[in-house]
């Protein structure tokens, strides 16, 4: 359990997630970026009520301790009041009225957050250990770890999970919804400020729960019209490798596979290909187990594709217990991943 102490920490897969949200110095909530201002309104109202009662309670306590401190061992109490019915009624009824106000305020707010407006654009978010995949409205392209929204427009997400419970949490928008396998949960909101926002998984989902991160880009109508999620540059091998690293490796793969040879849940991608002295790049040899048989294979595009789409087919020796999620990547994206893997080739013969 403590062996890790003497090893290097695993690579961060989300490297300092983009521009940090500027903290709102005086508020206790992060800056609100959606229309759900009733959350903040009720939060600060309740907060003020709490501070009032806290000051009242500690004030009476502090006064009593100072004023009625026992100075001689036989000092009796100043009063022996055992009850005071009017006072007890007051401190039962007044808090009851206050909490009923909070209840109604909170209920109407939550109802507003539940009922999706008719004009909302529909997104789809699929959660799996430990990443998010999005489909934008009217598009079949998968977008990994990033989603784009237009400022000032209602948007709803249909949420699904392929494995365990997750939760879709956008602190700046004040929305959270558990993602439950086998159920289509929904959540909606209207972003009101252009910017990049954290999307966290808020329901514990296993080893890399804390790295299950995505970013929400709220952009202007002009930016949104350019469909930034559809950008996928693979016209040359070098560009394909960059696209694959940024949009696939970092969002889907990095929590289990490193690029520097360090072992995590899965084998490192370093050295899957070998760079020969003449500059040519060929697949390395790998020991795998297929159908209970141990065999040696040469890494190639077909093997990589199979490992992504059917990870249980061939398991690398030493990683038999690992349980990778299958990903249905299109051919061109698999090609790009292979190009990226080739940039991680080690010198050899």
């Amino acid at each position: 359990m403590f062996a890790h102490l003497i090893q290097d920490p695993p690579a961060q897969h989300v490297e300092n997630p983009a521009p940090p949200i500027v903290p709102d110095a005086w508020g206790q909530m992060p800056k609100l970026a959606s229309t759900f201002d009733h959350v903040d309104g009720l939060f600060y109202f309740t907060y003020a009520v709490c501070i009032f009662f806290f000051v009242l309670i500690t004030g009476v306590l502090a006064y009593s301790v100072v004023a009625y401190r026992r100075k001689t061992f036989d000092q009796p109490a100043v009063a022996n009041t055992t009850h005071n019915t009017p006072l007890e009624v007051v401190w039962t009824v007044i808090p009851l009225i206050i909490v009923m106000v909070m209840f109604a305020w909170g209920y109407y707010g939550a109802r507003d957050m539940t009922n999706i407006p008719a004009d909302a654009r529909m997104y789809r978010a699929t959660a799996k250990q430990w990443n998010w995949t999005f489909k934008h409205p009217g598009s079949q392209d998968d977008s990994y770890g990033e989603v784009w929204m237009e400022v000032g427009k209602n948007a709803a997400f249909v949420l699904d999970s392929t494995d365990v419970l997750h939760a879709f949490y956008l602190p700046s928008m004040r929305v959270k919804r558990d993602v439950i396998p086998g159920r289509n949960q929904t959540v909606w909101f209207q972003p009101t400020e252009v910017g990049d926002y954290h999307l966290f998984c808020a329901e514990y989902c296993g080893d890399h729960h804390s790295k299950m991160y995505a970013q929400v880009h709220v952009v202007t109508a002009a930016e949104f019209a350019k469909k930034p999620w559809a950008k996928w540059e693979d016209s040359t091998p070098a560009l394909a490798a960059v696209s694959a690293e940024k949009q696939i490796y970092k969002t889907l793969c990095a929590s289990c596979h490193t690029t520097n040879g360090t072992k995590l849940v899965g084998p490192s991608w370093q050295g899957l290909f070998v760079k020969r002295p003449d500059g040519s790049i060929v697949g390395a040899q790998r020991e795998v187990i297929e159908g209970g048989q141990r065999k040696t294979i040469t890494v190639d595009e077909a093997y990589i594709a199979e490992s992504i789409r059917k990870p249980d087919q061939k398991k690398v020796v030493g990683y038999e217990a690992a349980n990778m999620t299958a990903y249905e990547l299109e051919d061109r994206k698999i090609k790009a991943v292979v190009e990226y893997m080739k940039t991680l080739a080690v010198e050899g013969k």
């Binding site: 009625y68 009796p76 217990a321």
Partner: protein
């Protein structure tokens, strides 16, 4: 006011020199391991739950140290997940639930009732051994790979993980029976073994609190037992109750789990309320303000607490109608809780306040519980809870209740009844210092967690985005201070057993029956069967000389 009326038909404690008490009447391993005496069983519980608390505290310290850095300072993510799970499971199942009823309840309840023992002494010993079995199983689960599900065991993750979930499930199952048997025993004892004249409304409030707790233990715990059994069956035989791949429903697990675990919050906190009610009156030397309202509020809380479990699931996609009902009832349960806090404060007001260490722990409780309770109101609102659910705000809130309130009430009770239990006094100056350090360390640990939680920091994160680092670091420093305070407390309490500075016969001037028994009490507690003729907490009956006459 200070007239010395002997209220109870019993001689105040004047043990003859060399008279045997429950600690030294017999000796040898078997005289303890096979004892049926409630005080000895209580002491064994005290040792057990203290060890569980210290292990749980060690895990907490590791968690806090790991979170010093955004990428995690010490462990792999998987190991971190095991450690925070161990912290939660040890603290909840081995410490917070059994601590007060098992140790202080066991020792004090029969004394307060004027009884010789609990009604079912053999069952009492069985409860203890079930606790030990549960503790051994939990420790074995660590040896066999640990468990990483969080103490909540949410499905389907708990069905898929490769760790020792079945073993810890068995531990929880067995501990559940320990809890049920203790509850049953206390209910019977309270009904059948009250001293003559000790009517229901003359019972000390600690007894009322333990009684309400016992009802919850007996009624709610079986649901947890069934639930963990179903999880175990599902893991072993794939029967498809909670697993969506087999047609099961993971949300059903959440309902089952919280149907127990919300009342369990009150199983944990009601005994703490009882201790505080007791200590507030004794150390203010003033009858408890609103005695009946406090007694009834315990029962009200016990009943309503069965109907609020859905507030743990406001983001799980329940229907709006269900959310409506659960939120309403959640606010409703805030009222009896507020009544208790107000009544305690009103008791202190115009009292004769002794600022000794049990009272300092009590005052610390009153301040911390005010924060713990009030932040619960913030979480009760549906729309606000959607934002705060599963963040550090919730973590901070329940630590204000679990650690800051329940553990502090446990410490307060321990300091209060320590001279009764052992006949010795600890170093008061060190005790006051430790209380201050614990109070400061506790708040320094958890106030930053409120702030980062409302700013969106999710719980159960092994790593985090760097903007939360200052809050995590402040919290870690607080935790180190807190650990130092607890370490000091353990030191002076243990030291008092070796220094053997004699306690007073009635150290704090209590008027409930346990202070009329000899100190420490003999087997079967009282020299003469007590008879109660006065109302509860009537300090005009106090024999003040007993508060400054050391035991011989």
């Amino acid at each position: 006011m200070t007239t010395n009326v002997l209220a109870h038909d019993v001689h105040a404690a004047h043990p003859e020199s060399g008279k045997k008490n429950y600690l030294n009447v017999t000796s040898g391993f078997m005289s303890w391991a096979g004892t049926l005496d409630h005080k000895r069983i209580g002491l064994m519980y005290l040792v057990g739950v203290s060890l569980a608390f210290l292990s749980g505290g060690l895990f907490a310290l590791l968690v806090r140290l790991h979170l010093w850095q955004p990428h995690g300072a010490l462990f792999s993510n998987a190991d971190y997940n095991s450690i925070f799970t161990l912290h939660g499971a040890f603290m909840v199942f081995l410490f917070v639930i059994p601590a007060i009823p098992g140790s202080l309840g066991n020792i004090v309840l029969p004394l307060m009732l004027g009884a010789k023992d609990v009604a079912l002494p053999r069952l009492n010993l069985l409860s203890f051994y079930l606790w030990v079995t549960g503790a051994v199983l939990a420790t074995l689960a660590i040896v066999f790979g640990g468990f990483d599900t969080g103490w909540t065991f949410y499905t389907p993750y708990s069905l898929y993980t490769q760790k020792a979930v079945v073993l810890i499930g068995m531990a929880v199952f067995v501990l559940g029976f320990s809890s049920i048997f203790t509850g049953l025993n206390f209910i019977v004892t309270t009904h059948k073994l009250r001293a003559p004249g000790l009517t229901w409304f003359r019972m000390p409030l600690f007894v009322w609190a333990l009684y309400a707790t016992s009802l919850l233990q007996v009624l709610a715990t079986p649901v947890l037992g069934i639930t963990v059994l179903l999880v175990a069956f599902e893991r072993l035989y794939h029967i498809g109750i909670f697993d969506p791949r087999l047609g099961g429903d993971p949300v059903l697990f959440e309902h089952f789990f919280w149907f127990y675990s919300h009342p369990a919050v009150y199983i944990m906190v009601l005994p703490a309320f009882g201790i505080i009610s007791e200590l507030v009156t004794v150390h203010s030397r003033k009858p408890l303000f609103g005695y009946k309202l406090i007694a009834f509020s315990s029962l009200a809380i016990a009943i309503i607490s069965f109907l609020v479990w859905g507030h743990h699931m406001f983001t799980s996609g329940q229907s709006t109608y269900a959310m409506f009902a659960f939120s309403f009832l959640t606010f409703f349960v805030a009222i009896p809780t507020a009544i208790k806090e107000f009544s305690w404060v009103a008791t202190v007001y115009k009292g004769s306040i002794a600022l000794n260490s049990p009272m300092l722990y009590t005052l610390a409780f009153l301040i911390i519980f005010a924060i713990g309770g009030l932040t619960g109101v913030i979480l009760g609102s549906l729309n606000v809870d959607i934002h705060l659910h599963d963040t550090y705000f919730v973590v901070a809130h329940f630590h204000y209740v679990m650690m800051g309130s329940i553990a502090l009430a446990f410490f307060a009770g321990l300091h209060h009844w320590w001279p009764k239990m052992f006949g010795v006094m600890y170093n008061e100056a060190l005790a006051k210092l430790a209380c201050l350090i614990i109070f400061v360390g506790f708040n320094a640990t958890f106030i930053p967690q409120f702030i980062m939680g409302s700013r969106g920091m999710p719980r159960r994160y092994a790593t985090y985005v760097p903007e939360y680092a200052p809050y995590h670091q402040a919290s870690t420093i607080g935790a180190i201070v807190l650990v130092a305070g607890v370490g000091l407390m353990v030191y002076y309490l243990l030291a008092s057993l070796f220094q053997r500075r004699a306690a007073m016969q009635n150290q704090w001037g209590g008027v409930t029956l346990e202070w009329l028994a000899p100190t420490p009490p003999p087997l079967e507690n009282f020299d003469h069967p007590p008879k109660v003729t006065t109302e509860v907490y009537d300090y005009s009956t106090l024999d003040l000389e007993t508060t400054r006459t050391p035991i011989r």
